[in-house]
C-alpha cells in the first residue's frame, strides 16, 4: 500500500469517527474480503464467519476514534479486531480446530483484487509462502497458536506432544518467518 493510500485510509477513518456512512462503506468495500477471509480461516464455517465479519465492522464504526494511523495500517487494525473476535467466539463455544487441511479450507482461493500495493502484497505473499514451506510440524504449531488461539500447553495437550517440543517448533518456525520478513523489509 503506498503512502497516498495510507493517508486516504486515515482521512476516511476520521470521517467514520465523525459518523460518515459513505466513508464507512467505502472502507468496507476495500477490506471486507480480507476480514471475511480471516474470520473464515479462524472459524472454518461460513455462518459464524459472517457474524464475526459484521461485528468487526461494527467495531470499526463505534471505535473509529481509537484508530491511530501512526501506529500501523488500517488493515492490520481491522484484522487484529477480527482475529480477536473470532478467537473469543472459539473460546466461548470451546470449539476445537478442524483437524484436516485447515490451511486450505476446502476450495481454491478466489481472486479478489487487493487494495495493497505490489510491494506490500509481495511481502505478505512471501510470508505466506514461507509459512507454507515450513516443516509441517512447525507450521501446524504456529497455526494452532495464531489462528486458533491455543497456548503452548494447550497445543502440547492437543497434539499429545511434549511441551518442550512444541515450544521449540514454534520458536524455530517463527525464527524463519522473521528472517523472511526482515529480508522483505530490506528489499523494499
Amino acid at each position: 500500500m503506498n503512502n497516498i493510500d495510507l493517508a486516504e485510509d486515515a482521512v476516511l477513518m476520521r470521517k467514520v469517527a465523525g459518523g460518515d456512512r459513505r466513508a464507512f462503506l467505502s472502507l468496507y468495500d476495500k477490506y471486507a474480503a480480507r476480514v471475511y477471509g480471516l474470520a473464515l480461516r479462524v472459524l472454518g464455517d461460513r455462518m459464524t464467519a459472517e457474524e464475526i465479519a459484521q461485528d468487526a465492522f461494527v467495531r470499526m464504526w463505534t471505535r473509529a476514534e481509537t484508530f491511530d494511523p501512526k501506529r500501523g495500517r488500517l488493515s492490520s487494525w481491522l484484522l487484529t479486531i477480527t482475529r480477536r473476535l473470532a478467537l473469543d467466539r472459539i473460546r466461548f463455544e470451546s470449539r476445537r480446530p478442524p483437524t484436516s487441511n485447515y490451511s486450505n479450507p476446502g476450495e481454491a482461493p478466489e481472486y479478489v483484487p487487493d487494495p495493497a500495493s505490489e510491494t506490500e502484497e509481495a511481502r505478505w505473499a512471501t510470508l505466506k509462502f514461507a509459512l507454507n514451506t515450513l516443516p509441517e510440524e512447525q507450521r501446524l504449531v504456529i497455526e494452532l497458536a495464531f489462528y486458533h488461539g491455543m497456548s503452548h500447553s494447550q497445543i502440547a495437550e492437543y497434539q499429545a506432544t511434549p511441551l518442550g517440543t512444541v515450544k521449540t517448533r514454534l520458536r524455530l518456525g517463527m525464527k524463519k518467518l522473521r528472517l523472511e520478513w526482515d529480508q522483505g523489509e530490506k528489499s523494499n
Partner: protein, 244 residues
Amino acid sequence: MDHQAEEQLAAYVLGALDPEERLQVEAHLSGCPRCQAALAAYEGVAQGLLHAADPKRPPRSIRSNLAKQLGKTRARPSWRRSLQRVPAAGLGLAVGLIILLTANLGLLVQSQRLIEQGQKALAQQQAGQTAVALASYPSSQVALIEEDGVRGTFVYDPSLPVAVMYVWGLPRLSDDQVYQAWLVDAQGERLNGGLITFGADQGFGWLMIEAPKMMEDYIALGVTLEPAGGSPAPTGPRILGVDL
C-alpha cells in the same frame, strides 16, 4: 530475567504464552529496549500472518445489514455495558500476605517518587517486581487486555489494594495528552487510578495502582485519554476497559 524473554517473544506475539509467562515477558519488555526491538520484528510477522488468510468476498447481505445498523450503533460503548461482578475469592489477609503487601506498598510509594524524579528505569523495575510478586499470590487474578490492537495484562489480588497493568500498542500520545486509569466501583463511581507511564518510545506502558479500597470493591478498570496532568474525573474518549 536477562533477555530470557527474547526467546519467548515469538510465542508472545502469537498469543501462545500462559498468563504468568506472559506477565513475565511484559515485565521484562517494559524496561528492555533490545527486546522491544525484537518484539517489533515479531509483530511484523504477526501482521503478515493476519494478511496470510486468503481473501474471500462475503455475501452482500453483510453490507446491507451494516448499512441498516449504522444509525443505531453510534453511541460509544460505555464501560457499564459488559460489567459483571465476579465473586471475589473471599480470602482473608494471611500473615504472609500482609508482609508481602507491606513490601509492595513500600515499593509503590517509592515507585511513584521515582517516576516523579524521572527515574523511569528504576520505577519500571519495581513495577516488574510487584507484578511478578502479585502474580504469585494464591488468589491473584490475571486479566488479559486484548482489544483493537492493544495488548496487555492486568494483575491484581481481590483482597489487596494494589494492582499492576502493562499495556502495549496504545495510540501514540501528543505532548499535551496522557492516558489515565479509572477504577469503577459497584455504584459506577470512577476513581483516579493514576497515569500510565511510558518508556522511551511510548511503545510499552505500565501502571501501578494503589487503591484506597481492596480490589474486590471495584468492578472494572477503564483507561481514557486526558489532557496532560490528568483529570479529576474522566473527560476524554475511553481507550480500553477491563472487567474485574
